[in-house]
């Protein structure tokens, strides 16, 4: 699909070379190099997005008792979107993820920034070991991490309850009010080290001359962190925050796996779980497509809102 659309452009390019040394081969070369990527990109990104948008505006009606008289599809306008937004559980799941994000994303970003600054300060011993230890959970898939933590959340199996009893606490990790924060803990455990590594990379790019100048000026460690390091790692902080916002709205595996041990998690606990349930339990692909589009648009909107907000603040 892409290649056919692309070929005429490439030929025209070859016929009217902008530079004398551009030959036909050089004109075709970039498209040849791009072809495998673009073909797969079209198949697995563009086409599904088009399909999702189209089917979110379509209504499929099955004729006859079991659909034996064939199916008819017609344009539904915003019907599917209206149906998705009228579903209280779906709207509640978006609200739940907003609450989750407002608490978990700042906690994680602050934690990984503090860890990165501590590891990069000369005060830290064995930074290589700590960096590896913090990064290790990133190699544990979300599902496995959730299985791991779910064992620690279940009374009778978990040593955490014995430890809590010693100090007179009886925690309930899987209760209706606490399970969201138990999920937040799993997400924080999984991704803090990864985000920390991105920030460490940016910290390492700060020229040594700046530190030396600060030293000559007699600046304290706090002062260096606040006036040199934090402003210069801003791009890394924005990147990790935007990825965290997108990740929060996509939350799926943690909730779905924890559902088997936590009755407080229903089949529409997160927006993605809701879309999955709509598609595969209710077989309503069109409403599920509308839900997927809503999730993607919400992720876009929140990311842009965050970027706009931080840009306005800085200028």
């Amino acid at each position: 699909m892409t290649t056919t659309r692309v070929a005429p452009g490439a030929e025209r390019q070859a016929q009217t070379p902008r530079r004398g040394k551009r030959t036909g081969a050089a004109g075709r070369a970039p498209w040849l190099l791009l072809a495998p990527f673009l073909a797969l990109f079209a198949l697995t990104f563009l086409l599904p997005i088009v399909v999702a948008i189209l089917s979110s505006f379509t209504k499929v009606t099955r004729n006859g008792l079991f659909g034996e008289a064939g199916v008819t599809s017609e344009f539904a306008g915003f019907g599917n979107y209206a149906q998705a937004m009228a579903d209280g559980s779906f709207v509640a799941s978006i609200g739940r993820m907003l609450l989750f994000g407002i608490v978990q994303v700042p906690v994680m970003i602050v934690l990984c920034t503090v860890l990165a600054l501590m590891l990069e300060s000369a005060s830290a011993k064995w930074p290589g070991f700590f960096r590896a230890a913090y990064f290790m959970p990133y190699g544990v898939p979300g599902v496995i991490a959730t299985i791991l933590w779910s064992f620690l959340y279940v009374p009778g199996l978990s040593p955490l309850f014995d430890a809590a009893k010693l100090v007179g606490l009886t925690p309930d990790f899987l209760g209706a009010n606490s399970v969201l924060w138990s999920i937040a803990n799993i997400v924080t455990w999984s991704y803090t080290g990864y985000n920390m590594l991105i920030i460490v990379a940016q910290l390492k790019a700060i020229p040594v001359e700046l530190y030396e100048a600060a030293k000559v000026d007699g600046a304290s460690t706090w002062r260096v962190a606040r006036s040199i390091q934090l402003p210069l790692i801003r791009p890394a902080l924005m990147l990790t925050t935007v990825f965290s916002i997108i990740g929060t709205l996509q939350l799926f595996a943690e909730a779905q796996v924890l559902k088997t041990v936590a009755p407080a998690i229903d089949s529409q606990y997160t927006p993605n779980l809701s879309a999955y349930t709509t598609a595969f339990a209710y077989n309503d692909y069109n409403v599920a497509a509308a839900q997927s589009v809503i999730i993607a648009v919400a992720a876009f909107a929140l990311s842009f809102a965050f970027l706009a907000l931080t840009n306005r603040k800085s200028s």
Partner: protein, 304 residues
């Protein structure tokens, strides 16, 4: 505010620096102890769940519930447990492991190659539509993977691809973020005069990419490969949506399948803990060994 004040000093010349710089201004012995103590506490948080699953997988089912979770039971049954994990259901665990290795290994390798070719083309050639292509791909970085998984399933089931190896492998071959990194890196490091010289020598464009381009891009390629490897290995939603045949499951899906049976059959506790232990060993080791390359590659991408 402060950033603008410090920016003029960040000249390219300032970037070259000696190894092992002294990054602190003012430091005392007491602060070393406090900082290290804090780092140890945080390390415990990250390591204890893994320690727990190791301890748990050395226990029999009855010991699992009756002995302290943070210490070993008198009977050490790690090898029996692991033996059962590997042999259960005619070695299905090994099959899942192999599937994960195929999805992640093949997927990451090809995805890196395609991203390198695309990123190189976008960085080193001027052609009509370049900005449009790049902009579209950049938009793809921000599209959540789970948003495309459902429609992709509908698409693949119409094409007869659902519930096959291809249904998980094909989407894993595309890494818009990888292409983005490769383009930045190629712009900064691949010397245009080197390409021109190779052209004068009569080398074809594709050959120039394969000999000069790939070689210069290697540090970025390592990063892209690792990103994609971990991304595919950790993926759960896509295989969950696509696959119904448990023979095709990656390890994430398989272990969740076992976990969902512990309610009825407590013996699945040992299978699941043993399986979790076996599954986190390879990638944890890979993370610890490879984080050096990871960091290096990221820095190049971020700085240039």
């Amino acid at each position: 505010m402060t950033a603008t004040a410090t920016k003029p000093t960040v000249t390219p010349a300032a970037r070259t620096r000696s190894a092992g710089p002294d990054r602190s201004a003012g430091r005392r012995r007491s602060s070393t102890i406090i900082v290290t103590a804090l780092l140890v506490v945080v390390a415990l948080y990250f390591l204890i769940p893994v320690y727990w699953v190791f301890v748990a997988s050395t226990k029999s089912t009855s010991d699992l519930f009756s002995t302290n979770g943070f210490w070993f039971a008198p009977t050490f049954s790690l090898w029996e447990n692991l033996g059962r994990v590997v042999s259960y259901d005619h070695g299905i665990f090994g099959r899942w492991f192999l599937n994960s290795a195929i999805y992640a290994g093949v997927g990451a390798l090809l995805a890196t190659y395609f991203a390198a070719a695309g990123g190189y083309a976008l960085a080193k050639y001027e052609f009509k539509g370049r900005n449009l292509v790049f902009g579209t791909i950049l938009g793809g970085v921000l599209v959540p993977g789970t948003a495309t998984a459902l429609p992709l399933f509908l698409l693949f089931s119409q094409m007869g691809l659902a519930n096959t190896y291809w249904s998980v492998l094909l989407p894993s071959l595309v890494s818009p973020f990888g292409l983005f990194l490769c383009r930045i890196y190629a712009q900064a490091t691949v010397d245009t005069s080197l390409i021109e010289a190779a052209r004068i020598d009569g080398a074809g464009e594709l050959r120039i990419f394969h000999t000069i381009g790939l070689k210069v891009l290697t540090p970025a390629l390592v990063t892209v490969f690792l990103f994609q490897l971990v991304g595919i290995w950790n993926n759960y939603f896509l295989p969950l949506v696509m696959l119904s045949d448990s023979e095709l499951y990656p390890i994430t899906l398989g272990l969740n399948n076992w976990l969902s049976q512990v309610d009825r059959l407590p013996e699945f506790y040992e299978l699941t803990t043993g399986g979790v232990l076996l599954s986190i060993i390879p990638l944890s080791i890979a993370m610890i060994v490879l984080q050096r390359f990871w960091r290096g590659g990221l820095t190049e991408g971020a700085v240039k």
